[in-house]
């Protein structure tokens, strides 16, 4: 293989150092302000209890799920063209999930208490309980799957079973995560039985953005450093898939927006008209972070260019992060039963501490990823026999 992973070289050390410094600095800042002020260091309040740390966790958890879903394309459904990214996918899914959980841990009031109160009380009515269960299972399957691939078991029976198990865990985890919001009838902006589908779509979109970005980063943003199958993937199936997923995301946002704006219920339509569409940040993130990338991915010539793909990945990072933020906060901005005490639609802007958690999560992701690239072979691919054994060949063999 002519692949050259720059993360294994000095660039990797540099990025690792920078990430680690940012990680330590942001973690240090967050801990210091939490220790001195408690959660008063957050701008989340009793009226908007879930702020940017929750949105960050949601963003990371769903990006992880998206990566998990992408990884199951080859491992479960036999889309072998995706083999060149599958190990990176799984590792990134793991790293992002860990980063998200770290952010959540600092958001909770009593994180260590979870360790005994959740298992001891088994509140199976709570979607939050299932979130813990499913994401834990998801995490374990990711590790197991990665261990299988790392051991070279690309096509064994166990490997396939683990793949299927992992796929199911991802579906359950992210689908259930959607229902944490979607089942809240007292928060009509969220109430939506189809919310899991929206979460799957946007999860894959953010997963693809992460995959594209980190794959290019690993190769110094140059396709010349990539293996041929990886290049083929980036010039073929992957951008098409990315474009399609972005289209689906856009469709979902449009449908939710139209339903919301059409509704008479002020707790839905005011969120759209007075909060989301009234916010320049939301407008920018929608048009630049989702619409523009979709347009860029529409034509084949644009879609296949490395520069476009990197740009789209970065734009989608921002677009979907904002989407998560406005989704989480949007469900809470109409004051519930506050009379004149809350004079208008609630406003929420993250505090420095809340930003430090988002930065910390991102820095942890970079740190883990660089370590992964350096210590593990994330570009590994199955033996050529497995690679070339396409569905057609498989069908022929069975015939």
């Amino acid at each position: 293989m002519n692949q050259e992973n720059i993360m294994k070289g000095p660039a990797g050390i540099g990025l690792l150092a920078i990430s680690a410094i940012v990680l330590l600095a942001s973690f240090g800042y967050a801990i210091a302000s939490l220790m001195s002020q408690g959660h008063a260091a957050f701008n989340a309040t009793s009226t908007v209890p879930w702020g940017q740390p929750i949105a960050t966790y949601l963003y990371f958890a769903l990006a992880s799920s998206g990566l998990g879903l992408i990884a199951s394309l080859p491992l479960v459904f036999g889309f072998r063209k995706f083999y060149p990214v599958v190990k990176r996918c799984i590792f990134l899914a793991f790293a992002i999930l860990i980063s998200g959980m770290a952010v959540l841990a600092l958001e909770l009031g009593n994180v260590f208490r979870m360790l005994w109160v959740i298992p001891l009380n088994l509140q199976i009515q709570s979607a939050m309980f299932w979130m813990g269960v499913f994401y834990l299972v998801d995490l374990l399957f990711l590790l197991w799957k990665f261990q299988k691939l790392d051991a070279g078991e690309w096509d064994s029976k166990t490997s396939k079973q683990v793949g299927i198990g992992s796929f199911l865990a991802v579906l359950l985890a992210s689908g259930n995560l959607a229902l944490i919001f979607g089942m809240m009838s007292m928060r009509p902006f969220w109430l939506d039985g189809l919310l899991p589908i929206y979460f799957y779509l946007t999860a894959v979109a953010s997963g693809l953005a992460a995959l594209v970005f980190f794959t290019y980063l690993a190769h110094g943003f140059s396709r010349d450093n990539m293996s041929a199958p990886l290049r083929n993937l980036l010039e073929g199936a992957l951008p098409k898939f990315f474009g399609a997923v972005l289209g689906g995301t856009l469709l979902f946002i449009a449908v939710r927006a139209i339903t919301g704006m059409y509704s008479n219920n002020p707790e839905i339509h005011l969120v759209w008209s007075e909060y989301l569409f009234a916010s320049p940040v939301y407008q920018a993130s929608l048009w630049l972070g989702i619409v523009l990338p979709f347009v860029l991915m529409l034509t084949g010539s644009m879609r296949n260019q490395a520069g476009t793909q990197i740009l789209v990945a970065v734009l989608v990072f921002g677009g979907l992060f904002a989407e998560r933020f406005f989704f989480v906060v949007g469900g809470q901005v109409i004051p519930l039963f506050k009379g004149t005490w809350e004079w208008d639609i609630l406003s929420y802007t993250p505090s420095a501490t809340e930003w430090s958690l988002t930065i910390m999560g991102s820095a942890l992701l970079f740190t883990l990823w660089v370590l992964g690239e350096r210590l593990l072979n994330l570009s590994a691919m199955p033996p050529s026999a497995v690679m070339q054994e396409g569905p057609a060949a498989e069908a022929a063999a069975h015939a």
């Binding site: 801990i31 939490l34 009031g109 260590f112 004149t340 004079w343």
Partner: protein, 826 residues
């Protein structure tokens, strides 16, 4: 990151554990990390000391609600209404519960102090240093002795606001007599609600607020008395509101006010009136009552010829109406009322004639009905006349001294003091030159002949040196450097006065103090308090200390007695004999031995135990136009007109006067100050108000239910619930009609500047479409610059700063609500 916090908390806890242990804070969970191990066992158990309940009276407004103070392990932790107190009946208003803040206020003065910085001003740190009580009292007494020896004892003034009873403000009169100063003591009534008192003095001869029989009233016509916000006794009024609104028949209530407020909102009819025109509304109602024949004939009288009627615009012949308990009805009708039609009133008040007629018919046909008012209608230059017009309605429907009507308060059966001040007067006290000195506020002089007190004038007069300069001024429960209209003048005036403040709390006046002799807070005091006008029958409550004083403070009464002991001559002897407040109260309580209260209180000890002495028997009643006195079993003894005049209707004629003898005595003064022709001065009539401020919008600064007198701006929970109408939680918003705001380019939530001819203050505004577009509403609370850590620097500015010092010439009441302002974006 609970664990890290826990570590922090624990470290902090261990550091402060000695203090915490000493104060008896609940133990439990000591060495445990709550983040790591369940602490349910530890936290579920708390050492529970014995809880004691002591009797006290709330001190946050004049209502004097009896309270039960709950103390456990030496800490006061709860205050509830005293079930045995007839005002509280176990209930409280929102302020009452916050009383513990007064006790544990971190900004309290911790003991006597003297000033070290001779310069005085808003930005001057007084440089207070602690001194001993002896030094403080000796300094004050030394000063007073020197002044007296120099023949200038009139230059000592004692100002007081909320006096409670015999053990504080009740001691001041004798102090002034013995020491020899016309300025001991000057009360704050002219900055409070003197207008309604004067209106009643002018019409029924009682210079007093009324007592009311809300339990039996069927109709209330409420002119600007903030019944459900600040009218006293607020707590009891709410109890009665619940009763009136669910009794059979339900009491109907029409409220006339200048702004939307809870009383307006909860009434059956809310009528928005243009500020300072209540008198016109009342006159029009009187007009309708007379033209439609709805007056109470048994009280008022009737035409000699039963076929006669009052007809709009037409006079009636003299002698055609036989008056019973009223005086001057014919002149009133002929010279004033015949033209005061609802249409005329509509043009002044902006209330439609239709609503005026409806209200008048309801009021005139429902018995018993009362018309009530307070400083809303009377804090204008025409306030006394407006109050008289309103009170005249009570006479027309015969509700004076009637069941379901209104009357006046009786005093308690107190015993005498152990010594008589008259026996301790030296020559100076008896006939010193001070006797010919006017008061510093000129109340009772040619300048304010009809006012009993004019505290708002004292500062400006001192500044002018007219009639003279004060040397020493002492303050009890009053803070004129903040609360007087145009207090900037006081800020300047008190710079060269030796100021003694007795407040337990920092305040603007205290920042000017040369000596601070802090009082106890009310939960630490032994203090009596006869009731404010309530239901008429006598009552006297007692404050019993719930805990020993937390700091080195002294009750004001004792401070006064201790100063008195140090005055040379017989005065000192008098105070040595008086000894202390407890001794005073023990002697007062001796009166109960002969006249035990309904609750069995017949001694000082039982008074302390029950917290209140009362006799639920008012002695007089007017029934179907006759007055009766209580004979022990019922209102059976019919009273002669002379007895009525002596005991009840204390006017020159012994009748309710639509043509006031009291005003006619001062007719020339009234003509000079108000432009009312001297010949007409006695009539209940319409007089145009003179508005101050030179702006285009009316400006009112109401008192909200959470305004704790003198302290509300520094009580966190009060601040946080201050202004629910527009969500004033950290600040108090200027409430402005959106049309008014838009016309001036002001957006909802903008910071605005409110300007009068005196200057400007800033506030954040909120749109309130339920208010009059010509009226701005800014609840009075904030703008303090020295009240404590929470009050400081909190917008809005102080409404007093843009309120001109103009008073009703008759009552002397400062016209707080008459200023007109402009508003613009800041």
């Amino acid at each position: 990151m609970k664990i890290l916090q826990t570590l922090m908390t624990r470290r902090r806890f261990l550091k402060g554990s000695a203090a915490a242990g000493a104060t008896g804070a609940a133990a439990g969970g000591l060495g445990e990390l709550t983040g790591l191990a369940p602490v349910s066992e530890a936290q579920a158990q708390s050492p529970r000391g014995e809880t004691t309940i002591t009797k006290n009276i709330c001190a946050q407004c004049p209502a004097r609600c009896g309270i039960d103070v709950y103390t456990t392990n030496g800490r006061v932790h709860a205050i509830y209404g005293d079930t045995g107190n007839p005002i509280a009946n176990g209930k409280l208003c929102p302020k009452g519960h916050l009383g513990t803040y007064f006790l544990y206020d971190p900004d309290r003065f911790k003991g006597p102090m003297k000033r070290t910085n001779p310069r005085k001003g808003r930005n001057e740190d007084p440089g207070f240093v602690p001194i001993s009580w002896d030094e403080a009292l000796d300094t004050i007494a030394g000063r007073l002795n020197r002044l007296r020896e120099a023949g200038e004892s009139h230059r000592f003034a004692l100002f007081y606001g909320r006096g409670w009873g015999a053990s504080d403000a009740g001691l001041q009169g004798d102090f002034g007599k013995l020491y020899g100063s016309p300025n001991v003591a000057i009360g704050h009534a002219s900055m409070c609600a003197e207008g309604s008192k004067r209106a009643k003095q002018a019409t029924d001869g009682n210079n007093s607020y009324n007592a009311y029989d809300y339990r039996n009233v069927n109709y209330i016509l409420n002119f600007g008395a903030s019944f459900l916000e600040a009218f006293r006794p607020y707590n009891y009024l709410m109890q009665m509101w619940g009763h009136m609104r669910s009794k059979s028949p339900q009491t109907r209530i029409t409220t006339v006010d200048v702004r939307m407020n809870p009383t307006m909102a909860a009434s059956d009819r809310a009528l928005y009136i243009k500020p300072a025109t209540d008198g016109a509304m009342a006159l029009a109602i009187a007009h309708v009552i007379l033209t439609e024949g709805l007056w109470e004939r048994e009280f008022v009288g009737d035409f000699v010829d039963p076929e006669m009627r009052f007809r709009t615009g037409q006079t009636i012949p003299a002698g055609s109406f036989a008056e019973k308990w009223v005086h001057g009805l014919t002149e009133w009708w002929n010279e004033e009322l015949k033209d005061r039609t609802p249409e005329w009133a509509e043009s002044l008040t902006s209330i439609s004639a239709r609503d005026i007629v409806k209200t008048a018919r309801e009021f005139g046909t429902t018995r018993p009905a009362i018309a009530i008012m307070e400083r809303g209608p009377t804090a204008h230059t025409n306030g006394t006349y407006a109050g008289m017009a309103i009170h005249a309605l009570n006479a027309l429907v015969g509700s004076l001294w009637a069941e379901g009507g209104m009357f006046y308060q009786m005093g308690p059966s107190y015993g005498g003091l152990p010594v008589n001040a008259a026996d301790y007067m030296d020559d100076w006290a008896k006939s010193g030159a001070w006797k010919s000195q006017p008061r510093i506020d000129k109340a009772g002089t040619a300048e304010w002949p009809m006012s009993g007190t004019m505290m708002q004038e004292a500062g400006p007069n001192h500044l002018k040196g007219d009639p003279y300069k004060m040397d020493t001024a002492m303050f009890f429960y009053t803070n004129p450097i903040w609360s007087a209209p145009n207090p900037q003048v006081w800020e300047e005036a008190l710079k060269d006065v030796f100021v003694i403040d007795t407040s337990p709390f920092p305040g603007e006046t205290a920042m000017y103090a040369d000596i601070v002799v802090p009082d106890h807070t009310y939960l630490e005091r032994l203090q009596d308090s006869p009731t404010y006008p309530f239901e008429g029958w006598p009552m006297a409550a007692l404050r019993v200390p719930a805990v020993a004083p937390l700091y080195d403070t002294k009750s004001y009464g004792d401070t006064l007695i201790e100063i008195g002991k140090r005055i040379n001559g017989p005065m000192g002897e008098y105070y040595k004999a008086l000894d202390n407040v407890e001794n005073v109260l023990r002697h007062r309580a001796k009166g109960f031995e002969a006249d035990p209260g309904d609750n069995g209180v017949n001694s000082f000890e039982s008074w302390k135990e029950k917290g209140v002495w009362y006799k639920k028997r008012y002695l007089w009643q007017q029934r179907r136009g006759e007055f009766y006195e209580w004979d022990g079993r019922g209102y059976n003894v019919r009273m002669s007109p002379d007895e009525v005049k002596a005991k009840l209707i204390k006017t020159p004629t012994g009748k309710f006067e639509f043509k006031s003898g009291f005003l006619e005595k001062h007719a020339d003064y009234i003509e000079r100050t108000l432009g009312v022709p001297a010949a007409r001065a006695g009539l209940v009539q319409w007089v145009e108000a003179r508005h101050t401020g030179q702006g285009d919008l009316y400006f009112v600064s109401p008192k909200t239910p959470l305004h704790a007198e003198g302290r509300g701006g520094n009580i966190p929970h009060a601040i946080a619930n201050q202004q629910p109408i527009v969500g004033g939680r950290k600040t108090v918003y200027l409430e402005i009609h959106p049309d008014t705001a838009r016309a001036r380019g002001i957006r909802n939530g903008d910071k605005v500047r409110i300007k009068s001819n005196l200057g400007s203050i800033e506030a954040y505004c909120r749109y309130m479409p339920a208010h009059r577009p010509d009226t701005l509403v800014l609840p009075m609370e904030h703008g303090h610059w020295a009240q404590g850590r929470w009050a400081k620097g909190r917008l809005p500015g102080h409404s007093g700063d843009i309120t001109e010092n103009v008073s009703d010439p008759i009552s002397g009441l400062a016209c707080y609500y008459t200023g007109k302002v402009t508003v613009e974006r800041a």
